[in-house]
Subunit: 322 residues, 2 copies
């Protein structure tokens, strides 16, 4: 099977939304966002042995490779439009390709996101996706837009993917049902696209939680030149901490919640007056959100323990070269 045959067999994608003027098969794709729209662009690279193990289910990997990129669009409030895929493969393994493309294109179809081009090459397994989404001109959720007094929210639950990793590493054990649930969170994360779009005009700042809550909230705080006050108890008692993680034992709290990574939830800020609008946005997107703290004028992040006293912070936001 040659390169062109490989593309034709596994990555032919007939989806062509209105904003795509020319799909794959030429030197470039042509995107045509509507007047007044912004095209959001994000790129992520997944490397075998670093972001996933060689034993991972290829269908789950295809899902995840696109999901992590869609999560970046969600964090801007952008509606997915199209993506490109660059793929380095040790060899053209048809079973792997069939599974990978199935998982990838199923998620693409679910979000109306067209595969419009790419590159395939031989080499150590590497998946590089660049995704494009549309957002109206003045409604993008930027990291720099948090205001003092804003509430801080996070979607879904945190730390479950990290708990699954711990089970794989032998550091924790779970019932089969609980393990299946957290493994799903690690291998097939749900990008919060509907929530991001619903938060346009409601939230001030947003980021996706890919490297851990403290690290990604930290990016918002730094970009907005503000601080934050969080309560560990409120986080653990909110829906943001899953019952599975709570029942897995206190030694994983609060570290997995605060620094777990691979969550692909949204952390965002919104003014106090927007509380009903946040509740409405969360309900319309069928996505639970938890209010976990407040944006403060003093730069830096304070995490308060049970008695309200500040806890020592250990942000271990993932750094590939640290």
């Amino acid at each position: 099977m040659g390169e062109f045959e490989l593309i034709k067999r596994y990555f032919q994608h007939s989806l062509q939304p209105a904003g795509v003027a020319l799909g794959n098969g030429d030197d470039c794709a042509l995107l045509a966002p509507a007047p007044g729209m912004r095209l959001a662009v994000s790129t992520d690279m997944l490397v075998e042995g670093r972001h996933f193990l060689s034993t991972v289910n290829p269908e789950a990997l295809g899902h995840k490779a696109l999901a992590v990129n869609l999560s970046d669009l969600a964090a801007m409030g952008a509606q997915p439009l199209a993506f490109t895929l660059a793929l380095a493969l040790p060899r053209a393994d048809e079973t792997w390709l069939a599974g990978f493309s199935k998982g990838l294109l199923a998620l693409a179809d679910a979000h109306g996101c067209a595969l419009v081009g790419g590159d395939t090459t031989a080499g150590p397994l590497n998946i590089c996706i660049t995704v494009f989404g549309q957002v109206p001109e003045h409604q993008a959720l930027r990291r720099s837009a948090a205001k003092v007094g804003d509430d801080i929210y996070v979607s879904g639950t945190l730390g479950d993917a990290r708990l699954a990793l711990e089970v794989f590493r032998g550091g924790a054990s779970l019932s089969a049902a609980d393990f299946a649930a957290v493994r799903q969170r690690m291998e097939r994360p749900t990008p919060r696209v509907a929530l991001g779009v619903a938060l346009r005009g409601v939230a001030h700042a947003a980021a996706d939680v890919s490297d851990g809550l403290l690290g990604d909230l930290g990016h918002i705080l730094a970009a907005s030149q503000v601080g934050a006050d969080l309560s560990a108890d409120e986080i653990h008692n909110s829906i943001a901490t899953s019952t599975i993680l709570k029942s897995a034992g206190g030694q994983f709290l609060p570290d997995f919640v605060l620094n777990g990574g691979d969550d692909y939830e949204l952390v965002f800020t919104a003014p106090v007056a927007a509380r009903p609008a946040v509740v409405h946005a969360a309900a319309s997107a069928c996505t639970p959100v938890s209010r976990i703290g407040t944006v403060t004028a003093s730069t830096g992040l304070v995490l308060r323990g049970p008695g309200g006293q500040p806890m020592a912070l250990t942000s271990r936001s993932f750094d590939h070269f640290a």
Copy 2:
């Protein structure tokens, strides 16, 4: 040096053209093409040991990684606007990063093309660039637009990069000056952006010659459902065959010219009535072009030898998995 420090030190790019609404540092970049414009998107991945050797000069590699992407924009007649860079590195080698970013950003500056986002990770060396360019709504040079009777042209010279590779492999020898010249063609190719833009409204179809003239012209013919008639003599006597390649010996002709690859020239078709306009476009872009054949109604490609008789064709368009 951590990941964020790495990005800050080597890939901070202050260029923000009018069409870029938000550059790097957020979850996504925001591009804002003008009304009536199309955003052309292309992605290419370069893998160590496959597309370049570990001994390559990092500055030249930075140049080439972007150049091959800009070449795709050129083939659509698109003006470069912005690009993303995903980089897997075995380690954060500062000498390598300094050279690579210097070569990359110098070429980006030369084309007004802003680095607006990306990803860095540990892993086997892999460079994945996705580039965005603008082209007016109905002026993109598509592969499918060749018409029967069109002239076929190619820019610059063909086969020089392939000759440099042959010298590296020990299969040919050249004077130091000639080797330096063809090595430059291999390591620091010139994307024909100005020519592509100048050919808007003049050329019908275009593609960039990255895999060899026959292979890439073949893509135009297949997409346009037409054929081509080329004369080997005319090609060798035209400026498309460099004096260095001619003097290197007949055993490399016509193979390196027709199937060399890594040329990053443009092959394009234009109506006979547009001959003066093609000459004008080439002059305005300071890029030589050669007229090398004609588009025919019969599908397939005929290459004629000295007496006008068809020659056997061996298109060895590069396939990573064949």
